[in-house]
Symmetry: C2
Subunit: 104 residues, 2 copies
DNA sequence: TGCTTAGATCGGCAATCAACGATATAACGA
DNA sequence: TCGTTATATCGTTGATTGCCGATCTAAGCA
């Protein structure tokens, strides 16, 4: 299995080194726990509005949080109509786990 | 195996979200690669001076880096005479790996 | 073509972090 | 006791991050 290089790792750790962003990653494990939305969250991800509401931050802060997680490769985004849906990147998280276990 | 709670995780990720501190964790996997010292590095850890020299930072910065890693539980320290020796906390790092894989 | 809604980006301010030199403490040897 | 060496802590400055409101862009609908 491929692993993350040092620069990528630092970026990932910075992204996760924030309590709200870390919580968001957990929340996204259960997309069904968010309020209903036009598109099925289980399949295409959770829209920003719902993440913002649960995090209790402003719209701009929520958007920036998700951009940081995305740049770190921890989530993917899919835009459908006016909504941007976010989903965990489980493959990347598995890589992170194995990198931590083997390389750190 | 016991896992880390969210607050501990955030502290660990903050500690590792810095390129030099992340490198130090790798360096400590091979204590024998450091210059010789009075006490055997393989057994009791690497003294701060050697870590400072390899990192290329000031003495105070090196000391603070190691304090941050230690507060995060990633290294342990042992003082013998005038030297403080630092060692990886492999048990903690294993916990981190499994927490990332199972919980994040 | 306007409204309205979702989201991204910009600009700014406060808080935190990074890094250093200076100083303090602790151990040891002359 | 007095240097000397290793390390920790303090105080400061510049850089980065966190977070917001305001603004911009894109989509969808009247």
């Amino acid at each position: 299995m491929s692993e993350l290089n040092e620069d990528d790792l630092v970026q990932v750790f910075k992204a996760l080194g924030h309590p709200t962003r870390l919580s968001i990653m957990s929340w996204l494990k259960d997309p069904g726990s968010f309020p209903p939305q036009e598109q099925p969250a289980e399949e295409i991800g959770v829209c920003l509005k719902h993440i913002q509401a649960r995090a209790g931050v402003s719209q701009s802060t929520a958007s920036q949080f998700m951009a940081i997680l995305q740049r770190a490769g921890l989530v993917t985004s899919r835009r459908i109509g006016p909504w941007t849906h976010y989903q965990r990147n489980d493959e990347r998280i598995r890589q992170l786990g194995s990198t931590v276990a083997n390389t750190i």
